[in-house]
Symmetry: C2
Subunit: 552 residues, 2 copies
């Protein structure tokens, strides 16, 4: 797996474009006042960066080289800069400016658990800091060393632990090394007829170990479960030795050690391997598009589906602003498409009484045998109809399915043009969805007003559970002239996050705490909850060598 751009998402040369989406430029112009044709502000040139020389004591370097081989201990400046941060807006803006953090002194690439153990041993012996690195996609600041860290800092890149070691077909469990990237994992499983079923937005550039360390959730998690549900057994190299939990489906062994490692962001050790649930590839897989007259109607339908006897793989409803954004990203359409679209619009407005500015786009996914899929579609169709919704077939869903991993590139497109964009997502009980949505919308727009900017805020429900759901907000705005983009981002982000915790929603459904959300941890978990996490970290890592400063 090639490294991502040091200043942005994805591989060099891959980028988002508006050129094939005729409605997008006018939409952006109208909503946030940005002329996409304006000159692009390129990131700093790498050669102009002032990358500090590595501070790697001779003994430590020798021990690391002995552990993994000299060719896998890198002090290359680009390598170190790529490993210095994740991909939050805070990370990207500073990287683009050439404002480097405490850059790791070395990137170390062990090939297996023995080597990971030797690396950790060497690091602890030298009182160095160890930051595990998967794909580097964190948007919560989980990868950056504290600015004032004076000890040597090592980024331990797990990319060489990339194998599916074993599939226990009888138990439908796979033993997998933690450094495997999403596509490579699916490829190895698919060859045997299986899937892990975990497809976060970051899928193409993130790893199993990263998903575990952050409690990731994917687009089909309504069916497959979040990564916490899928992860059954763990191997974690810790200061006290290798932690091994059994891949049992349930256990009554006191406070769950498995659940302590999930979401631990490297603070307890380095996850080297997990035994995870896999499922047979489904006979059929289909994502259908639906339209609802209002966001409320869409949410109500999802709530009813979640408690019904239906089983679905994806439940997603965009609010009206996100629906309008989605329509604005349509590619150039044929005359036939245009006619169809016009006929649909007429039908929606004249026959169903939809208002185009309130209408909401939804996707519902189905997987399984052909008969099962057909039956679930019918049953869901009845619920959708009760809430005034309309199925618009499989083309929009197929398009969404193809393009779903391209979304992170849009932020670079906007940053290139001086526009800030980021996301905040949360989960809450069903009864809190509307209050949270209303509070976040009000808080976000109040923040835009305070800054004097034209901001755009949009939202979708991304996951449904029996007792609640995830709401995923995206915001964008052009900072006021002469202002600091990150200071203004902070105003908006803070307003949204505070609206979450003030209204019974959690600080994040699946993006972890890192440093970005740590401010809200006590409001979310209460002081005794934070103290329990602190006790766990302090007891496991008394020297604070393991990714210090994250979560608490």
């Amino acid at each position: 797996m090639a490294a991502m751009k040091w200043w942005g998402w994805g591989l060099e040369g891959v980028e988002f474009t508006h050129a094939d989406k005729p409605e997008l430029a006018p939409f952006i112009e109208q909503r946030i006042g940005l002329d996409v044709a304006r000159p692009i502000a390129p990131p700093a040139r790498f050669d102009d960066l002032d990358v500090p020389a590595p501070t790697l004591p001779h003994g430590l370097r020798a021990a690391l080289e002995s552990a993994v081989g000299a060719e896998h201990v890198s002090v290359d400046p680009l390598d170190r800069v790529v490993h210095a941060r994740g991909k939050s807006i805070r990370d990207l803006v500073r990287q683009r400016r050439g404002d480097l953090p405490r850059v790791p002194d070395a990137v170390v690439r062990p090939a297996g658990e023995d080597e990971v153990t030797a690396v950790l041993r060497a690091a602890l012996d030298a009182d160095a800091v160890v930051i595990p690195f998967g794909g580097g996609t964190s948007i919560s600041g989980s990868l950056e060393a504290p600015a004032d860290e004076r000890r040597p800092v090592l980024s331990v890149d797990l990319g060489r632990l990339d194998k599916v070691l074993e599939i226990d077909e009888h138990s439908r469990l796979a033993r997998v090394q933690a450094g495997v990237f999403g596509p490579h994992l699916e490829e190895q499983l698919r060859a045997r007829g299986y899937t892990f079923g975990h497809f976060p937005d970051s899928f193409t550039h993130s790893t199993l170990g990263g998903w575990i360390a952050t409690r990731s959730s994917g687009m089909q998690s309504d069916r497959y479960g979040d990564v916490a549900d899928l992860t059954r057994g763990l191997r974690v190299v810790t200061p006290a030795g290798t932690l091994v939990t059994q891949p049992v489906p349930a256990t009554s062994t006191g406070p769950s050690v498995r659940e302590m490692v999930l979401g631990s962001e490297g603070r307890l050790g380095i996850v080297t391997e997990a035994t995870v649930q896999v499922r047979r590839l489904p006979q059929e897989r289909r994502i259908l598009g639906y339209l609802f007259p209002t966001f409320g109607a869409g949410l109500a339908a999802m709530r009813e589906i979640a408690a019904s006897e239906c089983s679905v793989s994806v439940t997603r409803v965009s609010d009206a602003p996100e629906t309008q954004f989605s329509f604005a990203t349509r590619k150039r359409s044929t005359p036939v498409d245009k006619l169809k679209s016009k006929a649909l619009t007429t039908f929606l407005t004249r026959r169903l009484g939809f208002r185009l500015d309130e209408m909401c786009l939804s996707f519902i996914g189905y997987e399984g045998s052909t008969g099962h899929v057909a039956e679930q579609r019918r049953a869901v169709g009845r619920i959708v109809k009760r809430h005034g919704g309309l199925c618009i077939g499989s083309s929009p869903g197929a398009l969404y399915d193809q393009k779903k991993f391209d979304t992170p590139y849009i932020r670079d497109f906007l940053l290139d043009r001086g526009v800030a964009a980021d996301v905040s997502e949360t989960a809450m009980p069903w009864s809190r969805l509307t209050p949270v949505y209303d509070a976040v919308t009000a808080a976000g727009h109040a923040a835009f007003a305070r800054l004097g900017v034209r901001g755009y805020l949009m939202c979708h429900l991304s996951h449904s559970y029996h007792g609640g759901a995830c709401l995923y907000f995206t915001f964008a705005f052009e900072p006021a002239p002469g202002s600091d983009m990150l200071a203004e981002y902070d105003v908006v982000k803070t307003a949204i996050q505070q609206a979450f915790v003030d209204n019974g929603a959690t600080l994040s459904h699946h993006h972890a705490v890192g440093t970005e959300h740590a401010r809200w941890l006590e409001q979310d978990l209460s002081a005794p909850g934070v103290a329990m996490i602190e006790a766990l970290f302090a007891g496991t890592d008394p020297g604070r060598n393991l990714n210090p400063g994250k979560i608490v």
Copy 2:
């Protein structure tokens, strides 16, 4: 809720009898050599017990009385003895002998969270030990104070916290006080059309707080989820104040604090309240009986059901010894029943080629709309048929459903007659089921042989998951003449538990660690896993006031 017998299961005057089960006495005689008509060895008389006087410093007593009212601080000897232990065989044998443990100095009954807080405050101020008490059904030694505990010991009985405080119907969540007993919880929910769906064997005498503290699982957990799945929000009074976690369906706030409290057996604090998932009472509920030619065929069918598109509420298969025991507990049958039974036997043996000594009884439950139940029955029926099984209708299932909470009384019936009986259950991946079953069977019978006793060992699969299942073993034997029953029990129990952890199974699926299973914790979780739990406990309860000695 009246207290259970101080020496046995359930209420005074309720007991198991063989009198209405004509086949049972001969079965027991034949299998373990016990003549059930032998004279009963009664437990010690309570008046003959040497109950130590309570050691309750004046200041502590005054503080407790001020916290909860004098009438709710009990130093009554019977009350204290009832609260001294749970209901493991180790507990019951010693109670029956009059061999008392470190009896609590007082039983304190707070009425709400404020009172719990005041009780804990008073206890910590006086350096007393606090042992939370729900229904007292623990069979893992989670309730007994350490023998050498010199500080005052308080049993905090949560029985007055017994209300469903609120049902959020929109979110299908109920806010419930932790001391509510199973039947009272269901009664309060049923009045509003809901069910919690949690029915452990101990249901009639156990509480929500107890289920949470031990990671309980119930008979319909295949549908509703284990208590860990059902519990969304928690309130726990800890030394650092009240821990509050939000009732969100998922969250990415670092290591899960909710999952630290689940299974914590009072070592982190006193659970006062939980927000739990509830479901609408199903339109139809049905448990069908099935017969399989062998245990292996039954397990294979359950494994296939678990990964199929079917949804069921109960999956249970008994092995041949347990099947024979079940049949031996049938009540006196009518001449018509006898004819039917004979016809069935002929059909099974002549037409299907079943061997009566290998045949296995199974129950599969269905819940939901009438249409859903019918459809699932058909789909499951096809899987059962593929594995050579036969549906025998709803009467056996209805009987099982009625009698399921009577099982714990059988142990007292046997203890009355000098026979030891207990259970050990575990979970493992599907591929480990047969190896574990074989290893446990061999280990159990080897232990019987070593003791020179005629023992009976039987097993059922009690829960199915995508990646594995729970096997639940029951054993009984009459100790060798002149031997110590508990010493011999220990030989058998140890052999079975060791076979679990030696073969990839966990020390318990849903009965917790307590003191009974603590010996196997490190083999199950590895030393670093145990160290993490220790760090959590030490940091949260530095004075070791909270149920010391349990789990680790």
